[in-house]
Symmetry: C2
Subunit: 319 residues, 2 copies
């Protein structure tokens, strides 16, 4: 099943069912908003799936991904992992600040969740001096997860694709505080379509999305790392987050920047990682961060190259 | 003006006006919930203040603080500073992990905001082995704060009192990750009454609450440090948080653990700080962390010793 949210003047927008080819949509009948759908997921899903089956048979209105909001325009919690060890190792190098992993536990921070930008929304930021960077990620939306849950996969309702905007020159200093990031992590964006895991077929396995995330920067190919290389699966990330807290329905859990050991072949999903590779290769970082007017586009398509989450395609502007 | 939230079966509860002596209350007419009141604060406040004036003249129902929810039972954001430098210095010692401050910027982390425990609610936690600790704090609730706001005091709607529950043995390891805290920071609790700054009279000055926070643990006095010693005022904390993001109405901003340079006279507002002092004095920490069944009580009263925020009084239980 595929779901999207269209603007209707309310903070949470209006939930729509999207056809399997991402070409048509229709307002959901079983729930007004995605938050409401996730709060009642187990009881509402059959009705939503029936609406999806009917839409795939025909009807509905044209779906324009560029008009969509984030599937979940605001969430009660955004907990972002850093589950690609390859990325972590390169970032330690780039920042000159080492994130010391806890044995047996994934890295994770809590970020701002009160606003997820629409996939084609401009991104207002205060200064080009802050080291403006994108981070291509996969993510998921949970049902309610009780504290202490260890078998977390049944709580994975929907998979999403995220751009975790980052201000790198602020980020390194904030890491030194050991308090995590505040100024360095403005609002993220979310690709237009949230999908149930079954939409991925065998590309959803082991709590990982076995598909490449294609990133272009101002139209030039930047990277297409594959989600398969997560060092821990999404189930482990959810369970880590739920150790000492209940996770509310609609919690967004992120993979961290998608990154592969074969980074020289597949490229990267953020500028900071490319800069780290340049430092390793040349002793200095040569690729600048983003300027106002720059665009980044990210898309993960299905194994048969059909649309899946739709594309994030955003321009950075002066706030 | 004084406001509280009583349970009505909804996640946000029902907003009530509380009389100046915290003895009586009445359902608010101008807004159903505190979140709604904060979203329309500038236009709704006059009507709420009129209701408060009428209630102070008589009427209403008895107000039982022990029956109240947190004034804001869930919030879109919880950004907790560490604004008492004395506490920071002692905690660096206790954790053996130094939080490196950024010159000119306060320390701040983003914590879970989807649930603030009621002031008398039991606190379910997974294990006594995790180093269960309280943190007595002051806090505030904002109206909507646009990105880039530097003059933040006009956005301070209400002051609150918070217990920031912490799991210390997990906290030190999470600090080493530099990603901030996830497992070490379960849900906070909030004292029953949120008050407009004018309720404090001259005790609200310089963006600081110039009043002691009285903390008892299992009935024994633990400390009563004063909020006046914040190294930066709350206005600076709000502006820091708003540098690269809009803050939604109802954002909760915390002071961090209240702490004074005269800690030998006034005591502490968390166990970890007392343990740090013991380490300085004796070379080892002698006070254990909390066990299941332990209670902590925190109350900040007005300068004339009348009730202000009401008390947090909670028992820790096995989850």
């Amino acid at each position: 099943m595929r779901l999207a949210t269209l603007a209707d003047g309310t903070p949470d927008g209006r939930l729509h069912i999207v056809s399997r080819d991402n070409a048509r949509c229709t307002p959901a009948k079983a729930a007004q908003t995605l938050q409401a759908a996730l709060e009642g997921w187990d009881s509402l899903r059959p009705a939503l799936e029936a609406e999806y089956a009917a839409l795939n048979g025909g009807g509905g209105q044209p779906f324009d991904p560029a008009e969509a909001l984030a599937p979940l325009p605001r969430a009660w919690a955004w907990l972002d992992g850093s589950a690609f060890d390859n990325h972590g190792a390169l970032m330690d190098e780039a920042f000159g600040v080492k994130a010391e992993k806890i044995p047996g536990k994934p890295l994770m921070y809590q970020g701002m969740s009160d606003r997820f930008l629409a996939p084609a929304a401009d991104v207002p930021l205060p200064s080009e001096e802050d080291g403006i960077d994108f981070e291509g990620e996969f993510g998921l939306l949970t049902t309610a997860v009780p504290m202490g849950t260890t078998d977390a996969l049944p709580h994975v309702a929907l998979l999403v694709q995220i751009n975790d905007w980052s201000l790198r020159k602020l980020g390194a200093a904030e890491m030194k505080t050991r308090f995590g990031w505040i100024q360095a992590k403005p609002a993220c964006a979310m690709a237009p379509v949230a999908v149930t895991p079954d939409e991925l077929g065998p590309a959803w396995a082991g709590g990982r999305i076995h598909l490449p995330l294609q990133v272009t920067w101002n139209g030039a190919v930047f990277g297409s790392p594959n989600g398969a290389e997560m060092s821990v699966g999404f189930d482990r990330l959810v369970a880590h987050a739920a150790y000492s807290r209940h996770l509310p329905a609609g919690t967004v859990i992120g993979s961290g920047t998608v990154s592969n050991a074969a980074f020289r072949e597949v490229g990267s999903a953020c500028i900071a990682e490319r800069r780290a590779i340049e430092m390793l290769d040349h002793g200095d970082a040569r690729t600048p961060f983003m300027g106002f007017g720059d665009r980044v586009r990210m898309e993960c398509r299905a194994a048969d190259d059909t649309p899946l989450f739709g594309a994030i395609d955003q321009q950075v502007i002066r706030a």
